[in-house]
Amino acid sequence: MARKHYTPYLLMTVPFFILILLFNFVPLWGWVLAFVDYTPGRSIADSPFAGLKYFRQLFDKTSDFGLVLRNTVVLSFLQLLLTPLPVALAIMITNVRKRWYSRVIQTVTSFPHFTSWIIVYSVFFAFFSIDDGALNKLLYSTLHWLDEPSNILAEPKYSWWLMTFATLWKTAGWTAIIFIAAIAGIDQEQYQAAEVDGANRWQQAIHITVPGIMPTFIILLLINIGNMLNIGFDQYYVFHNALVHERIEVIDTYTYRIGITQLNFSYATAAGMFKSFVSVALLFAANRFSRMTTGHSIM
């Protein structure tokens, strides 16, 4: 093709690419902070060189990083297992006969996305607390199904499930939006042809809808795999207490605690760098695997 054929497309991409560089890559000079003993106010050139000290601190045997990494990975893995659920939700919503009801349901299921974790905790607390919670009032005081009030929020056995359920509750409706949009992009003729052939809705869903949104699904899955270590801060900080600490402490809450007094930027930057490299590696590995097996990939 002639050179000038792709000029308009270059014009479409390069200027925006420069924006990406300016706002996302240029500030990465800050990674230098992980290698020096940095104090804000002192110029970086003046800060003493620290080599790999902060990275070593991450993995020191007196550090709890191993425990924290395990929790992060387990929780992420559980969440990954649940990625099909928003898809199911989207399919269900788009299969409701009355349009108005599907709109209502779609709106309502996305409400949790708007509440901050602090509020979510308040609500959970009002329900599950061992002293006053509605659940205990019902099961223990009124129905006497339990011998003693349950303390779900303080029971390490349930922590992983509780957190996964909370995440699901908070994100399912919102993520479903993406799939609803994807479903909207599927050619209607396919459904009409299938009806003519006598396929019922369940079959339609399996054979038309699911393959139709598969590219989107794979991509979201890959992105989430890359994000395994970035499971979040707010949720786990808010639900944390000493009794469930060993199950709930994740990378971001841990590094926050370590750096909290005197704000240890170097340590935080080192942890951030570690996460970034692992995430990118995970993403590209998963991407390659997906390309070889399913044919879909991000890149």
């Binding site: 890559f25 104090t39 804000p40 607390s129 841990y254 704000l263």
Partner: protein, 567 residues
Amino acid sequence: MLALVLLTGLALGCSGKTNEGGSEGSNRPSASSNEAGEPVTLTIFGGLVNNGALQGPFQNDDVMAELEKRTNVKLDFTSTLNVTDASQKLAVMLAGKDLPDIVVFNALTDRDKVYNSGQAMPLDDLVAQYGQDIQKNAGEALALYKQMNSDESHSLYYLPGKVGGDDYSPLVNQNAWNLRWDLYKQLNHPKLDTLDDLLDVLEDMMKLEPVNKFDKKNYGLGLNLSDDWGHLMIDKATANMRGMVQANYNDWYYDMSKQQIVPRVSDPEGIFWESMKFYNKAYQRGILDPESATLKFNAISEKYKTGRYFAATAYWSLAGADNQFIADGQSEKGFAPFLVDHNEENIYIVQAFASGDQYQMFIPKSSKNPEAAMKFINYLYTYEGAKLLQNGVEGKQYDVADGVPLLKDSEIEAIQNDPNHYLKTGVGKYIHLARFTPHEDPQGDPVNFTNVPETLKKMALPVQLDFMEHYGYDSVNEAFTNIPNYKFDTSLMSAVNPEAGSDIQAKKEQLDAYLVANIAKIIYQKTDDAYEKAKQDFLDAYSSKGAAEVFDYYKKTYDELVASLEP
């Protein structure tokens, strides 16, 4: 290509000394001279307990209006607006070298950052020239600071706050057991010689009043262990009663009786673990609210406020419980402080900051008008300045009759009824700005007018009056102030810190993180054997992280500091 980008970035970043013209908030012509009568505008960071109280860059409350009149200075709080995490904001400002004319910061959390940034201006000359009152009223503190909070030059960089102050109040006690006075009376004033006695008393109180007005179960004790600082409440009153002072670091006490530094968490036989055992027993006996593990401060305050606990280790924990009883028409109910399991000679119920508290002040090198700043700061070190910040303006908040300043009744009522009243008056709004907070002025009169005897009687709650009358006290804390030694100055303890980036600092952070995350579990063991095992496991893990080494560092540094300050 990526490499090129990163290099550009590095170049940009290294020239982080970007000296842009507009720094924070100074869009007005400042640095005009005082003599012309035009007020000078000084930008300031910090100074309030609660930055949400700021009404914008400039304040229009009574105190600030008067302060401006007297000092000819307008304070511009732009950099402090909306700041909820002052540490983070300060770090960002230091990094950008974007500092206002005056900075107030919390040395407990930001000391390393600020000191190492080298952004503070040496103040010796300015103080000599414009700081007469500072020298007069805070001279000793200055000398201490030149020694402790400086570098090899021993210049004065940082100015101490709340010099001469302490947290004593005649009506409430922030450092001892507060128990329900009305229930205690009903039980016929039982003895409180040991912690076990306290457990028995609390259990009896629970029998007297099993539920609160909403029919919810009451408990003797509650803790907010889900907060990062919740563990500090475990030995709060108990250690204080034995004359053991905890400040700054988590693993030490100053023992007032032995007059030396001793370990706190790493001593299995010390008062900290006695307190742990106390709470564990309370848990096993159902006296401790089982929800304590998951409670945060907001939640526990709500429980206190609705009268569900019978004991607190500090008056502020009660979150207005007394007021709520009064509002409910049950003014006979309320709390008063008691001596429990105490040392006869030494207790720690008043934290003194003769040489300043942790809210230090400095003038950044980049300040455009250091002389004006110093003149202003000097006023803060005067008795008039102190009285203004604490009491307000004559004619507005109080009137003077026969030389005695009396708070107006309307003012007293407003304080009691409207939690937001201080926003209009400014009284109590600028707590961390205060540099000088003595109890009495040179004539012996109270600096804080709520301590004037007539006013005190008006502000006391019925419970407090009843308590004082019963024992024949003039103040609620008389039993405490009768103990020979009840005050301690924690400024030296607060000055000991590991070097930034050192091995000791890394270990300390690990120890602190481990303590906060794991200590509460031990209280929740259901049997004594399980408790002992949990305790041992904790101590093993804690010491394996280097507890002994860090403790030795702190003790040694403290002792050296004390020695260096001997005259």
